[in-house]
Every structure is written in C-alpha cells, then in structure tokens.
Symmetry: C2
Subunit: 466 residues, 2 copies
C-alpha cells in the first residue's frame, strides 16, 4: 500500500479554514441539485428491472424479449472465434471505424436484401444494437418538448430515450393492422392547429413490440405518403421482419420510401445474437452524418470483437438456414402460447395473434391492474411485462406483454397456466364483490371475434364501453 | 421480388390532392430544420476523421491512441473463446444485465485494487468503453449552458460529448504537474461572482491525454479538497494509470476522496483491448443509478460476448504479466520517440516527457499552424493530431499530439524524422521571410529547461511573451 491517505482535514480554497469531510452517507439529496432536467421523471425501464428479478432460474419469465441463444451451436461459436483469432486477432482487439467494419456492412447489405432493400454500404452505420439507433436519433433530432409520434403501445425500451431527450410523445392507437392512420392524421391535424410538427414518427411496422400486430400494406403506403407530403421523418424499427411465421411479407417502409424520409433500424440481435450488441441504421446522408458524430461521443465505435465474429459467421455459414431454425422454433412456441392462453385465460381476456416476432399482447378486464398482478405472479414464480411500460401516459394498466421466443413449450404452458389461475381468481373475486358478471363471457364455441380463430380475439377490434 | 413498389403519386392527408414525390437529392437543407440545437457546432472529432485517413497502411500514424493489440497472443484469444463457447455459449450470446456481469465486476475490483482502490461490485456499472462514461455523465448532469471544468488541453474524444450536451467548458491551464489548481481557483471564484457553479470537473490526472503530464500529489489533495468544500463532482478519467514507465504511483482522486465526490472512469481498452468496448464507472449511488438508466436508453447493456471474454481471460491468465509486457514495450517506444524528437525537431519546438500513458504533446513556434502542417504531413505519409482538437475555443493551433504506443520504434523514428523535416522547413522559411531568428535557439548542450533532460523542455513551464 504505497499510497498516502487522504488528509482528514480539508483545506478550503483561498485560505478559508478547513473543515472535516462530510459524512459519507450517500443520500440522494446531496446530489439531487446536480442532475440535468432531462433526468427528471426518468425511471428505470420496467423491463430492465424485471430482467434482474427474473434472472432467478426458478422463475418462468415471459417478460423478456430474449431470443433462444441456446440454439446456436457452441462448437460453431468456438470454431468461428478460432478463425477470427488466426486471421484477425490484432484487428479484432483494436478500435475500429465509427461507421463499422466493411465486412460487417457487407453482411448487412445481404440481410437487408432479404427484405428487398438495396443499400449502399456507405449509407450504413453499425451501432450498439438497435437500441442505440433509437437513442442516437433522439439525440440528433430532439430539442426538449419536440413532438414524437409513436404507437400505443410502443416498445418499452424506447421510453428511457424518449424521456431522456424530453420528447412530447403522442401515442397513436393501434389495431390488428398496426398504427391507425386515421388517428395519426387527426393527431397531425391537431398539431397543425398548434403550429407544431413532429420531429419523427417512430414505428415497428412488422410483428410489433409489444403489440404483436403488423401494419397493413395500405397503411404502410399511406404512412410513407404522409411522411413525404409533410416532410416528416419516420424511424422504422424492424428487428423482427425476418421472423415471420405465417402470411406474406410486407414491404418495409424504407423500401416503399426509398430512404428519403425513412431512418431504418436493423439488428443482429434477433437473427444471430443480442449479446454482441450489434445493430445498424441507414438514413438520409445528412442525418447519417450527424448520427455518426453522435456515436463518436457515445462510444467511439461498436465492438470490433463482435463485428469480427459476425463477419466470420456470415463467411462460414448459411445465416438463412439458422434463421429458418429460429422461425420454426418460435412458430411452435407461439402456437403453444396461443393454445395455452386459450386453455387457461378466462373468457374476459383478449390477446393478439402475431404472425411473427416474439410477443403476444393481452388485455384483461379494465378493473384488473397488471402492475399489481405482477407482484402476485412473481410469488407464483412467473413474470410478464405490465402494459404501463409501453405507454408514456399511464395507460395500459390492464394490459400485459408475453414473450414466447425465449421459453420452452413446457414452460410456456405452465407459465400461462399460473397467470390464468391468478387472473381467474381476480375475476371471480370481482364478481363476488360486485355481484356482477364483469363482462359478457365469450362463448367457448363461437366466440365474438371479428374473424379470429376461436377465442383468439384481437383486443384492438373489440369495442367496449369505457 | 414479391414486394409491391411504392406508389408514384402520393395521397396527401385529409384528401388533399396528391403530388409527386420530391427529388431524391439528399441535400442538407432538406433536413437542416429537423436537427436538435445540440447538434449545431457539433463536428466530427478530428481524431475519428484522422483515423479513417490513417487506416491506409502506407501512412505512419502517430495520430491514434491505439494500444498495440498485436502483443496479445492469437492462440490465447482462440483458446479463451473456446472456453467461453464450451462453458457459456448461450449466455455469451444473450442480453445481460445493464450494470454488467458479476464475473466482470470481480475483474474490475481486482484492477482497481491494483491502484489501491476498494469498490463494492454493486457500485460498478460496466460500460461501452470509457467513452460511454464521459457521455453518460454529460447526459445525466448537464443542462444546456451548464459549466464543466476541463484541462487545457483535454481529451479530444470528450469534445463531441461536451458539445452534444451543450456544456459551457472552461479549460484550466496545465503544466508539468497537471491542472494548475491556482488557475482553477481563479476560475471558480469568477464563476462565484457570476453566481454559477460547475456541474463537474473533468480531469485525467495520470499520464494525461493528450498532454502526457501527471498531476502532483499536492494538487490531487487540493483538488479533492476543493470538490468537498464546494460540493462539486469530479469526473476522474483514468485509462492509463497502470501504464507507468517511471516514477512512483500517485493515488487516484477516487482513493483520496473515498468516492463521495469522485465519479471514477476505468477501462479495459488500454490493459487488454479497446475492440471489446468495455469500460466501467463507479460513482455515488444516486448518480450511479441515473447513469444506469441512461445506459438502458443508450444501449440496454454492454456486450455480453466481450464480457465473457474478459472473464475467461482474468480466470485463465495473469493479467498483470500482460500489463508488464505492455509497460516494457511502451516504455521503449516512449524512449524512442523522445530520442527521435531530440534528434529531428528544430530547437524552437518543445514537448512533454510523459512518465506513462500513450502520448507526447509538442509545441511548435506560435507562427506555425499544426492543422495546416497536418495536410503537408499526410503528403509525406505521416500523421499526428493537431492541437486544436484538444481545445474547445480554437487554442492549440501550434501544438500537436504524438502517440508512441501503437507504432514500432522504426516507424516512430521515421515518422518523427518526417515531421521534423517539415517543421524545420517551415521554421527556415519563416526566418527567410522575416529575416528574424524566430525564437532564441536552445543550446544542444545545456538546454534552457527548468530541470528537464537535455532539450526535453516541458513546454508548460517555458514562458514566452505572446
């Protein structure tokens, strides 16, 4: 211990008498005055907090947004990294260009081509996952109070970025065809009257997180047309487009727009690995340049170590084959979850039937609060994301998000059974207390769905008073 | 190509007549109105731009801040990743907790202990390199116009973050003992008169980037005392503390302060690999919590893939032995650069003599502009960082940063020779044009240094009129 100890009395500046150091009690008050305004109201994402709780192995977590990384061959991981070590060790361990490695951009060009998009590698910026794109876009475009349009519900992970950059977020209602463009137009007209225009429209058009719904082609065309007409940017978040279990592929907004008003976000997280923290964006060049400068400040560059792994993987393997494995697996798990929901949730609940992606969104009767329910669920060793996490205005209180990609079929069934029992008890208790049937039960045989399969009722189209 | 094409005429909202899409010419003007105020004046870091230019192998780049990653055994990289693959493949490819993996926190505790710091793993946040800490601290603490104190010169990579969060940066002059605390006190007194107080004091006390100087123990104590007295936070950036080539270790500000007012930044970039993009921070708990929320928005978590590599490395290897290799290598390169500067730079130039770290900072006569000089240097296939990159107010025009860690001794000698020739020509031209000796030449034999070795004159203590 060659280090001198800190003086126990402190010399004040300019010869003022010293005073002893303050107590080391670390109270929020001492630092409270130092925080930026942007951190007020910033709360830890419900999802991230849940992630910590649900890391315990005894919990069946339907809360995560986790791909099943156990499907990736450990032997392949080992051999790919041996290749990286032999061919590029010093480069893989070194800093890289902010925009990303050319080899990785070539992989991205391939992935985007799979959804019929053509992109010049010079128009790409490799990022720390899709999350960083959302954050950099907010950082680059938002002054405090600027309006951002988002879907309701929206990706819970976008909330900390939107709040940090003090966005005035207007959430547009959704239905089974995605964002309701009629409601968007009403909102835009209202903003016109206020003399305001949104900085960008944030959307996950395909297999939305958390809603599970997919924007129809007609709405995609209208949305792109509105963006052009009004010169408003769209941030298209497309992590799940290739995880399609049924139905025809829809063109991305970027392919419809050609890239004039669409900032596109892609990621390796769902087709390869989220642990690499590698995603990308392509945007109109002046915006891309600003995003690049933002990234220089944020982290200099994305992990070259991970980028070399991606490049080695695409060079050695058929990434589409692995994607096919994931699609087949997640399709079975989605089907398992839909079957379990049908079996275990009381007739008062409704949920979406996603044609791809990772999530099902369920709605319980209005008198149930899913945040309260979660505490109960955790005691029963099962977790979900409460719906409020997907809204910035306190809505979503009776809704919840369920993930099926990261959980075995057995755990899906057991997890949903537990949730169903808790919900059933609450519904029964409500009935007993009020002496009322809470809502008209749906016939097991016929359902009242507008075209859904059996009781799989898209909640968005189910109209209820209140 | 199953995708429908975008309509060529566009339906306007609310039934307005459509109009054809605009030209796809991507002009800055179209998007200019959309950028956040914070992006005004934001420029690409000179260092990052240089990095792109100097990636060409024919260029001898003394511009980077690169460790020599070729010293890390490729075979070891391969075998460590085989271990990761065998023992933790699915976890290494998965999302992780925002605060970082416990295994990595244990490594950080070890590294910090090496500089006599004790830290509770719960007080650590694993970040995307040290850069992300700077950025998250700015994001968490700065409202537009808030004052930040920094050294002059300061780390060029901090500039994009400081500008992005609209800091009012006051740079305090430095000398061979680091930040001049008398000048700091003057600045603080001036701020008092304005009724302002800085949000934090940003400093790299040991082997500063870019200056190469190290803060004396007395100044460290005074700085920590001032922080306590005034309840001002310090951001201590310490990437190089363990890269010490001579002299006694100095206690970190964090160890002197105990962590009440010091936010500490460490990184694996210089002791292992920057390509992993892994660093860390420890801070008073209320601040750490806010930094964590900021990181959730920024990128969810740091690369678990890279974190597993770090954990495997620390488990399998003696990291201090590798550090010892780096120290021995970089010491030789520092000595080579000092010798080359002595041989090739004209007597009008002065430079620092760092006792550790990666950089030497040189000052040329005031009539030379190192930004102009760089263009000439690049034609001669050699690069450095012009001094203006290290100031926010245009100062530093006749200064430059030279890196010795990432370049062979041979290239150091040749690179400095080329720079010396260019500088010599410019000095001679100036003499010819003005008919004057530009400054009094320093005797080769005696020097006029205040205690330096031969002509190694710490420019900070050399007083010149103007």
């Amino acid at each position: 211990m060659p280090y001198p100890k800190a003086a126990m009395t402190v010399d004040g500046p300019r010869g003022e008498p010293g005073r002893p150091p303050r107590s080391t009690t670390r109270d929020l008050e001492r630092y409270a005055g130092l925080f930026a305004t942007r951190t007020q109201g910033l709360r830890s994402s419900a999802m991230r907090d849940l992630m910590a709780v649900t890391a315990r192995p005894e919990i069946i977590s339907l809360a995560g947004g986790l791909p099943d990384t156990s499907t990736f061959s450990p032997a392949l991981l080992g051999s790919l990294m041996r290749t990286v070590a032999e061919e590029a060790s010093a480069r893989a361990l070194q800093y890289g260009p902010t925009e990303g490695l050319e080899e990785v951009k070539a992989c991205i060009v391939e992935v985007m081509a799979e959804e019929d998009m053509r992109v010049d590698p010079d128009d790409l910026l490799v990022t720390a996952g899709g999350q960083q794109v959302i954050d950099l876009v907010c950082r680059t475009l938002l002054d405090p109070g600027d309006v951002v349009i988002a879907e309701g519900p929206t990706y819970p992970g976008a909330v900390p970025s939107l709040l940090a950059f003090q966005a005035d977020v207007r959430q547009i209602p959704t239905d089974d065809d995605g964002m309701r463009i009629d409601a968007l137009e009403e909102t835009l007209a209202g903003l016109d009257r206020e003399g305001r225009r949104p900085k960008f429209i944030y959307t996950i058009p395909s297999f939305q997180n958390p809603g599970g719904m997919t924007m129809s082609l007609e709405r995609r065309r209208r949305l792109v047309a509105i963006a052009r007409e009004r010169e408003v940017l769209i941030l298209e978040d497309n992590p799940y487009g290739l995880l399609r279990y049924e139905g025809d592929p829809q063109p991305t907004l970027r392919s419809l727009d050609g890239g004039d008003y669409v900032i596109y976000l892609g990621t390796f997280s769902k087709i390869l690995s989220p642990g690499l923290r590698l995603g990308w964006t392509t945007a109109p060049r002046p915006i891309l340049d600003k995003l690049n400068v933002g990234k220089q400040g944020a982290d200099l560059c994305s992990s070259t170590f991970g980028q070399h792994f991606v490049a080695a993987y695409f060079a050695a393997q058929d990434w589409r084959a692995y994607l096919g494995t994931l699609v087949a697996l997640y399709r079975r798990r989605r089907d398992a979850m839909l079957a379990a929901l049908d079996e275990h949730l009381p007739p008062e609940a409704t949920w979406t039937r996603p044609r791809g992606g990772l999530f099902i969104w369920a709605r319980l009767p209005d008198y149930l609060d899913t945040t309260d329910l979660l505490a109960r669920a955790l005691r029963e060793q099962v977790a979900f994301v409460p719906g409020r996490a997907a809204y910035l205005d306190g809505r979503g209180g009776s809704e919840l998000r369920l993930n099926f990609s990261g959980v075995t079929e057995e755990d899906i069934h057991e997890g949903v059974r537990r949730i169903g029992r808790i919900v059933g008890e609450q519904v029964a208790m409500y009935s007993t207390l009020t002496g009322l049937e809470p809502v008209r039960p749906v016939s097991r045989e016929t359902g009242d769905s507008a075209g859904g399969a059996g009781r799989v009722v898209p909640f968005h189209v189910k109209r209820r008073a209140g």
